[in-house]
Amino acid sequence: MRFALPLGLIFGLALSAPGLAAVGDQAPLKKMDWSFEGPLGTFNRADLQHGFQVYKEVCSACHSLNRVAFHTLSEEGGPSFTSAQMKAIAAGYKVLAGPNDKGETVDDKGNPLTRPGAPADTFPPPFANEDAARSANGGALPPDLSIIEKARAGGPDYVYSLITGFGQKPPAGFKVTEGKYYNPYFIGWDIAMPPPLSDGQVTFVDGAPNKIADEAKAVVTFLAWTSEPHLEDRHRIGVGVMAFLIVLSGLLYLSYRRVWKDAH
């Protein structure tokens, strides 16, 4: 479906105008203006830091962030926490420890040994494994969020629409499954995730506005960064590469014209 628009335009086909939406079809996504989109896009630092707080206080209750290492939180192009803040964040998490000096991996009560997180660790998952996660969530598996915005069509707009898309009245005739919630942006409409955000749910450390829209915008920005941590690098290098190639091609064009001057 990705090429429907450009190819549709080539053919001038207004024929495939969307028909009547069927039950369970995704509603058109809310189209937001993201600072990180476009060829020069960068992440909004405040949104990244707020978004991290939303993930930590809300999403992380069910969703893992397995691929993100703590040290990246203080790297360039990311949330830009100071090194000290990043270490404090890491130390605030308990991660599984290796065997102790007696070779034990569990304590007296049989619980796994843990230690405070270090910068090289990744975010520890909320559940021990998939079975535990499903068992705690009515059979549904909360997906890992590390690259969620590259793994869903619509990316940031999809995640934003989804987490702000609760609370609408289901269309007449659609029965929401017990234990699930109606969300028109979720394919099938029945989602196991309860509405995650509410106005004022997260109190940002700098006292920034915290309506649902603010919280959602922040966490979507944060997850855009976890999905593509080198986005700012990519854009910056891309501009340099483009400038180089355009100058190079200009010079190549001049040499081409000069070589061919007498050949026509």
Binding site: A4, S16, A17, H230, R234, I237, S249, V259
Partner: protein, 421 residues
């Protein structure tokens, strides 16, 4: 290669080398002085562009292979590791991923160019067939490469494509299943499949490079065709490859590199499928399994046939047909510039391929609303497939016999230096 060598070694060392390994003589004759028709246009730059992208794919691929782990449990993680932790790994990976698209874009232009100017006609049949072999190897390589990240689309593309062989069960019971099992190295797509695909994905580009060598060799015997499709008749019709075509090709490679950079740095995920950022899961089938854009026309053909075996034969035949073109085209005139009727069928054929590509990207049950009725897209795919085959097997032989071509110019030099009209 065409004509006696004009190389004269100038120093003691090059004289010594020339009588032992005439490498410089070879380079001199094939790259520097090689006589090339003086009227080659933009569309002839794609050979150089393709060579450039073969190089890009091999170099980025070799470095990626240093970090990639071909193991069903670790492949996806190792690719994510390349994207996050390997220095500039994201750049290498996006170059490799989008480089494949650029490679196919260039090869399609190159093939349509060959079709339009009749570059497959005598004495260039072997040159054309070697090109078809390169294209087929590219398809194989790209397919196996697509499997390596071991995302949902990787896994399910591997499953769907290898399962095509099981249609042979309809001919000889169990034959297809045995072949599929042999390809998988297991009873399903799994770790063994991934490992062999990686091994072959690393091997095949070097096979491609070797066939490209033969392709260029076969090109240098008769020399280039040209937009007029008439033979080079003397030195006034040609120019030495260097500096004329090195300079011209370098400029067009530069332009193509700009397009490449736009994809890599600003739209790296445009040609990709979001589902491939979900780790492979044999228990969950994606809603729509689609190949990369460059294979969509063939996918549309495959899906348009309800009977599986015939569908597979139509798919394979679509590529195989290309090898017969030199003998299907009955026209005495090479270039479509002088073939008023065939030229029109050619452009319809280009549109047909794009239409099939579009249809291959739509979900299987999609419809178009025309005049109040829902017409399933599969009917358009059938029409498109029919035209694809008819173009080669009916129009090429028949139009060549019926059509009255326009008068050909006397020589390349005349038409370039004093353009008619």
């Amino acid at each position: 290669m065409s004509g006696p060598s004009t190389y004269v070694p100038k120093t003691e060392f090059t004289r010594w080398l020339d009588s032992r390994l005439p490498l410089l003589r070879f380079t001199h004759d094939t790259v520097l002085t090689f006589p090339t028709p003086r009227n080659l246009n933009f569309w002839y730059a794609f050979g150089a562009i393709l060579t450039f992208f073969l190089g890009v794919q091999i170099v980025t691929g070799i470095v990626l292979a240093m970090h990639y782990v071909p193991n069903a449990n670790m492949a996806f993680d190792s690719v994510e590791n390349i994207m996050r932790d390997v220095n500039y790994g994201w750049m290498l990976r996006y170059m490799h991923e989008n480089g494949a698209s650029m490679f196919f874009l260039a090869v399609y232009v190159h093939m349509f160019r060959g079709l339009y100017y009749g570059s497959y006609k005598a004495p260039r049949e072997i040159l054309w067939i070697l090109g078809v072999i390169i294209y087929f190897l590219m398809v194989l390589t790209a397919f196996m490469g697509y499997v390596l990240p071991w995302g949902q689309m990787s896994f399910w593309a591997a499953t769907v494509i290898t399962n095509l062989f099981s249609s042979l069960d309809q001919v000889i019971p169990h034959l297809g299943s045995i072949i599929a099992t042999w390809l998988w190295g297991d009873f399903a797509v799994g770790d063994a499949t991934l490992n062999r695909f990686f091994s072959l994905h690393y091997l095949l580009p070097f096979v491609i490079a070797a066939v490209v060598g033969l392709h260029i060799w076969a090109l240098h015997v008769p020399g280039n065709n040209n937009p007029l499709g008439i033979d080079v008749k003397g030195p006034q019709d040609s120019l030495p490859f260097h500096p004329y075509y090195t300079a011209k090709d370098a400029f067009y490679v530069g332009l193509f590199a700009i397009l490449f950079a736009v994809l890599v740095f600003f739209l790296p995920e445009y040609v990709g499928n979001p589902d491939n950022n979900i780790p492979a899961n044999p228990l969950v089938t994606p809603t729509d399994i689609v190949p990369e854009w460059y294979l969509l026309p063939f996918y549309a053909m495959l899906r348009s046939i309800p009977q599986k075996l015939i569908g597979v034969l139509v798919l394979a035949g679509a590529i195989l047909t290309l090898a017969f073109i030199p003998w299907l085209d009955t026209s005495r005139v090479r270039s479509n510039r002088f073939r008023p009727l065939m030229k029109q069928f050619f452009w319809v054929f280009v549109a047909d391929c794009i239409l099939l590509g579009y249809l291959g990207d739509q979900s299987a049950d999609a419809v178009w609303h025309i005049g109040g009725t829902d017409v399933p897209l599969v009917w358009f795919a059938r029409l498109g497939t029919a035209y694809y085959y008819a173009f080669f097997w009916v129009l090429m032989p028949v139009v060549g016999l019926l059509e009255t071509p326009r008068a050909l110019p006397d020589s390349i030099a005349k038409s370039v230096l004093a353009p008619a009209e």
